[in-house]
Amino acid sequence: MSTQKLALEGKNYALDQQKVRYNAFVDKYSPRTSVRSSLLHSFFVGGITCCVAQILHQALQLALPDTTGDIIATYTIMILVFSAIFMTGLGWYDNLGRWGGAGSFLPITGFANAMAASAMEFKTEGLVFGTSVKMFSIVGPVIVNGVVWSSLLGMGHYLIVGLIG
């Protein structure tokens, strides 16, 4: 193709190559998060969260021997979510998240933090257009994907197991 034709199409291959070279240079030059330390940090924070949850679970089981395991699990989750939201309100959770990475946002405490943070942030625009609208701005994808994929799996299960079995 002639250069005139290329120019008419608005394509500048020399500039494109320059961009590719520059981005490769930037990728090489930019500092990366150290994999080892972030793995260690997230293992530590996530592990501690799970241990605390397990201790709570056992303690509740001892304190309320008549209740079933499901109810106890619900209580544990409620306590964890409440403490995460409380820590978000006090402004501690973001420091934990900065240090802990995936260890702090993968458990249910991370979900609670994301919701509480959005709700607090947009409180200035009022309860309806601020908090209520923007509350799910971060956690929305989690809910949408959770509903869609669980529905698909349920349908698959019904079709395969329900009809054949």
Binding site: D16, Q18, K19, V20, Y22, N23, F25, V26, Y29, S30, P31, R32, T33, S38, T88, G89, G91, Y93, D94, N95, L96, G97, R98, G100, G101, S104, F105, G110, N113, A114, A116, A117, S118, M120, E121, F122, T124, I138
Partner: protein, 364 residues
Amino acid sequence: MKISLLHESAVDCSFEKELEEATTKIKHIYNKTRPHKVLYFDNPSYVSGRMSIVSRKEGEGPIGKYFDKIQNDAKYGQKNFELAEINFLQESIWGAIQSANLKISDIDLMLSGDLLNQLTTSNYVARNLGLPFLGVYSACSSMSQALLMGAVMIDGGHANNVVCGVSSHFASAERQFRMPLEYGGQKPPYSQWTVTGAGSTVLSSKDNGGIRIVKGLMGTVVDMGTHDIANMGAAMAPAFLHSLVSFFNETGTNIDDYDLVVSGDLGKLGSDIARTIALEEGIRLGHKYIDCGAIMYNNYQNAYQGGSGCACSATVINGYILPQMLDKKYKKVLYLATGALMSPQSTYQGESIPCISHGVLFEI
């Protein structure tokens, strides 16, 4: 006989002077008519007043003691961060006008910019002050654009006193461009921290023997196809270099002719990239180059690669660089602030980040 000789010599002298004046004028006209980026100001504008306010985090940084005021409360006693930012900008503009020994009625024009949608902060400050107002937006390069436009207004004789001010606020910028404040997410190590504060400069046509703006550079939008919204330094470095090289080429000067080149908010990573690529272009920046973002915070302050935002370069220029020029430490300072012109929507739609860098040349 003697008298006539004297007379002749006097005529000769004045003619030579006239010729010289005419040549410089032609030179300016020549420079004004051809396609160009550099503006030459025949009537330079003088910096008569300035003010910089920052919040506590910047005040604890390496150059914290140079700022005119450190406001420890990031909310400024207001109920939200947007109102706080308005207070930051308004106080800096007031302070700059006061330090110029002027009254608010002496100001002919207010040029102001910030990072928020629809220039909310600047518009509300303009409402409160009741001045003729032109909003300026080129992201973090707003201060140099405001100074450039103010100098053009004064050069053209349209204004005698112009106040240029910009502001940014970490909390309001973070909410608009990134995540809520209390969200416990991790930032990549190459991200930057938006400076909370405001900086203002008053430009006057009256010669006060101080710092003057003699040249300006209109930036060109440069896009090298970087997509990472966190890596602003790398996105903006090419725009800075483009402006630097075109300024040197058009004025026929090089780095040795200047005492200092100041870039806006490339951060540590961005300024390293700029140095490396400038060396390939044949410009050894060396100790004659500083980046406002890179000197804003200490390493232990959790600010990653350094400061960003409009206020970053505005506060450093007004608080740190211009006073040092008055102390005769620097005589010619080229100030090239850089701005990344993306929005959250354009980023989510997969567009790359266009960047611009306007510049002004301070002389004393």
